[in-house]
Symmetry: C2
């Protein structure tokens, strides 16, 4: 099984921590974890996980979308890390190209409004949200309520 | 050998990644790595490193200062993560109580001014700075220029 983490621009402090937290849970379930993002988002994750304890590999977002469109790359589940509209666009693009299930992790001050936009834009998307900016605990709680990510694949 | 990471409030996105990056280098050199901070700073690091791949243990900042003052706890080197004045205060307090060497990691939009303030406030403090907010690469470069942290102890 393979999971994709679609990282947004790293503007909101909780993103790095929450992405590593989810990656750890996925690895424990046997997923290969691939992170996709802009070069700056990828750089920040590489610096944060130098031993690849949590994230197995990285792919530049444009290349990821191209390869999915050509049928050369796919995943079982895609996590969109969303704190502004562009994050919804990334997840919607990947959801349209991938056979995997989409999951939206929505955070930042506009999380409530953005989570409603995600639900309108994407059918069958599990949406977890909290207005977290610096404190990850509420979002962590939402994540911990999902006992097994493999169950998301069967929705 | 034991190293202390003094985490500031997690307001600037690069802090989590840079702290984990330094922790990894310290562990590779044989340091035990302890992170100190406010409860919210500690929570964010715990979420980011759930397997303790990089950080061995945590201590609440007030308790850390109390125990250092009572001579019950000390470290060989203390890293202050500084993006505002309160970060300088933390490092200066710890430097006054500890026999270990202080190192200042200064980032954020006011990094240049803050790094000058650190140099004035703390003698013999190694100061590494970059105006990093989201992109950690310049600060990573400064960190990589220090070949071994154990060398800092002998200053």
């Amino acid at each position: 099984m393979r999971a994709l983490l679609l990282l947004g621009c790293p503007e909101v402090p909780v993103q790095t921590g929450i992405a590593l937290y989810i990656a750890n849970k996925l690895k424990d379930e046997g997923f290969e974890v691939v992170a996709a993002g802009t070069p700056s988002a990828i750089n920040l994750m590489r610096v944060a996980d130098p031993k690849k304890a949590y994230i197995d590999s990285y792919i530049e977002i444009e290349r990821c979308v191209d390869q999915m469109g050509e049928g050369k790359f796919d995943v079982d589940v895609s996590f969109g890390f969303i704190h502004k509209d562009s994050g919804i666009q990334y997840l919607a693009t990947v959801a349209a190209l991938s056979n995997g299930a989409p999951v939206a992790i929505v955070f930042g001050r506009e999380a409530k409004e953005l989570s409603n936009e995600v639900k309108e834009a994407l059918d069958n998307c599990l949406v977890l949200w909290a207005t977290a900016v610096h404190n990850p605990m509420e979002l962590k709680k939402r994540i911990d309520e999902v006992a097994r990510w493999a169950s998301v694949l069967k929705r």
